[in-house]
């Protein structure tokens, strides 16, 4: 087993090598494409953008939209997933419609969403919600269906109510798949946030990306994209931490 610092060292070396090759690619004539920028230029662009308030203020706006959309997705998605997983009548009722929505290219609905929710903030919330809610619902339902019926029977046998079954078995029992859904939802939500801001708004980090992208200012563009991927990285890490917390002592459990 590698120790933590050894693993960090190996991954860090890979990143460092990548950055060096990228930095030297143009001067050494390794690439013919003119505009791949260089890490040093990207770093400089980032500092300039940050100084002029073009990173953190937009980021704040983006995160606000993301958080609202994502929380709505959780509040709607988890109960809906539970209902779909638990009650056959629900899944029969909703499944056809749901599958149609699921397979639909939802980002293609951007123009409509703008009409419904207005340019900017409203549309972003809607897109984040639509991106995140599907994996949350689907995986929660899977989690509920995978709950061992014998656990439910045990709770019933002790006189537990339907609410007890939900609280003591269904919810904790479906945590692992549910967490996968929530993690996928974070990724989809972030993607939705950026795309929505690029096309339906000039605000937020996505708006900035759209702006610099259209004027081909590569260094600034790459700096902003890097901010978004860092954000995704941080979110996924937070999710892992939450997963560890809620499933303490059973990370390795197979049931």
């Amino acid at each position: 087993m590698l120790k933590q610092w050894q693993r960090l060292l190996i991954s860090g070396t890979a990143i460092l090598i990548f950055l060096i090759i990228w930095e030297l690619a143009m001067p050494l004539g390794l690439v013919k494409i003119a505009d791949i920028s260089r890490p040093s230029l990207v770093a400089k662009a980032f500092l300039e953008l940050a100084a002029s308030g073009e990173v953190f203020q937009p980021l704040y706006i983006s995160l606000k939209g993301f958080t609202i959309g994502f929380v709505i997705a959780l509040v709607v998605g988890i109960p809906l997933g539970v209902a779909l997983g638990r009650y056959r009548i629900f899944s029969l009722l909703i499944d056809p419609l749901w599958m149609a929505l699921y397979t639909m290219p939802r980002l293609a609905m951007m123009p409509l969403l703008v009409v419904w929710f207005g340019v900017g903030f409203g549309a972003t919330i809607a897109v984040v919600f639509l991106g995140a809610v599907f994996p949350i619902v689907v995986n929660t339902a899977v989690g509920i269906r995978e709950v061992d019926p014998v656990w439910v029977r045990a709770v019933r046998s002790f006189g537990g109510s339907e609410w007890d079954i939900f609280r003591k078995v269904l919810l904790p029992g479906s945590v692992p798949p549910m967490m996968i859904g929530i993690r996928l939802g974070v990724g989809r939500g972030l993607l939705g946030m950026v795309v929505s801001e690029m096309f339906a708004s000039t605000e937020g980090i996505g708006g900035q990306i759209g702006l610099y992208g259209m004027s081909f200012r590569t260094s600034e563009l790459i700096a902003l994209i890097a901010v978004v991927s860092l954000l995704g990285f941080v979110f996924v890490d937070i999710m892992r931490w939450v997963e560890d917390k809620v499933s303490k002592g059973r990370a390795e459990v197979q049931w």
């Binding site: 061992d148 046998s157 002790f158 007890d164 029992g173 390795e252």
Partner: protein, 264 residues
């Protein structure tokens, strides 16, 4: 005093084709208070169904189940079930699993719960494993948790559904003798389902032998072996005679099963 009474109980299960499958037919049994009754029969011939009916988890389609003379309408605090598959919650520790019934029945004072749990941890010999998760335990230990969980709510009736079927043979012997020790201490009425004739005779005051599909009583055999019983009792002539007799009753049913005809 009669504790559990089953009168002409029929149980049917709906089938995918819309028909009804008769699992238990005209089942008759009276169990005295404090009695240890085992039910033995070929696999899948309605043995477990009988326990589920007594527990109130499924309703009979005909006949009556009475506890202390009152009809069973659902699960109750006077009964607790021990499952073949243990049915422990994998995200809970041993301690917390034992607490499940106590939590659900909300009739135990908070201050007593800790003491109650440690009492049953000790009774089933799980000291030192309180903070372990089920996946860290062997099959035998998991079932100890299952038994402690059932005993912890202090039921009058203990319903045991092939509790040692998923445990290796040696552990099984040990566990059944420990069960007898606990039973002699706790004075519960026990209804114990098994497909092991040995186990059925060793544990029981009376053995109910089932016939195959649909399950009904073929014969009820009193076991007049002295208690407390050690494992050595299995070599006594009376034990051997009873085992032989039950096997004769079951052989025909089992032969049919092995031949693949009328499989339950």
């Amino acid at each position: 005093m009669i504790h559990i009474e089953l009168n002409q109980v029929n149980v049917t299960y709906p089938q995918p084709d819309g028909g009804q499958f008769l699992a238990v037919s005209r089942f008759e049994l009276k169990v005295e208070k404090g009695e240890f009754v085992t039910i033995v029969g070929p696999s899948g011939c309605g043995k477990s169904t009988i326990l589920l009916v007594v527990d109130g988890l499924i309703q009979p389609s005909g006949g009556q189940v009475l506890i202390d003379g009152k009809p069973v309408t659902g699960p109750g605090e006077d009964r607790a079930l021990v499952f073949q598959e243990f049915a422990l919650l994998p995200w809970r520790t041993v301690e917390s699993n034992i607490m499940l019934g106590i939590e659900l029945q909300r009739r135990f004072p908070r201050s007593e719960i800790r003491e109650l749990v440690s009492r049953y941890v000790n009774m089933v010999g799980l000291q030192g494993f309180e903070r372990h998760y089920p996946h860290q335990l062997s099959g035998g230990m998991r079932q100890r948790v299952g038994i402690a969980r059932a005993l912890a709510v202090n039921p009058q009736i203990l319903l045991m559904d092939e509790p040692f079927a998923s445990v290796d043979a040696q552990t099984r012997e040990i566990m059944s003798s420990e069960l007898l020790r606990i039973w002699e201490q706790e004075k519960k009425t026990v209804l114990f389902v098994t497909h092991s004739i040995d186990e059925a005779v060793y544990l029981a005051d009376r053995v109910v032998v089932l016939s195959g599909r649909p399950g009904s009583v073929k014969e009820i055999i009193p076991v007049r072996l002295a208690r407390p019983r050690g494992l050595a009792i299995k070599d006594e002539p009376e034990f051997v005679r009873l085992r032989r007799h039950i096997w004769d009753l079951l052989e025909q049913e089992v032969q049919r099963q092995v031949a693949g005809r009328n499989v339950c």
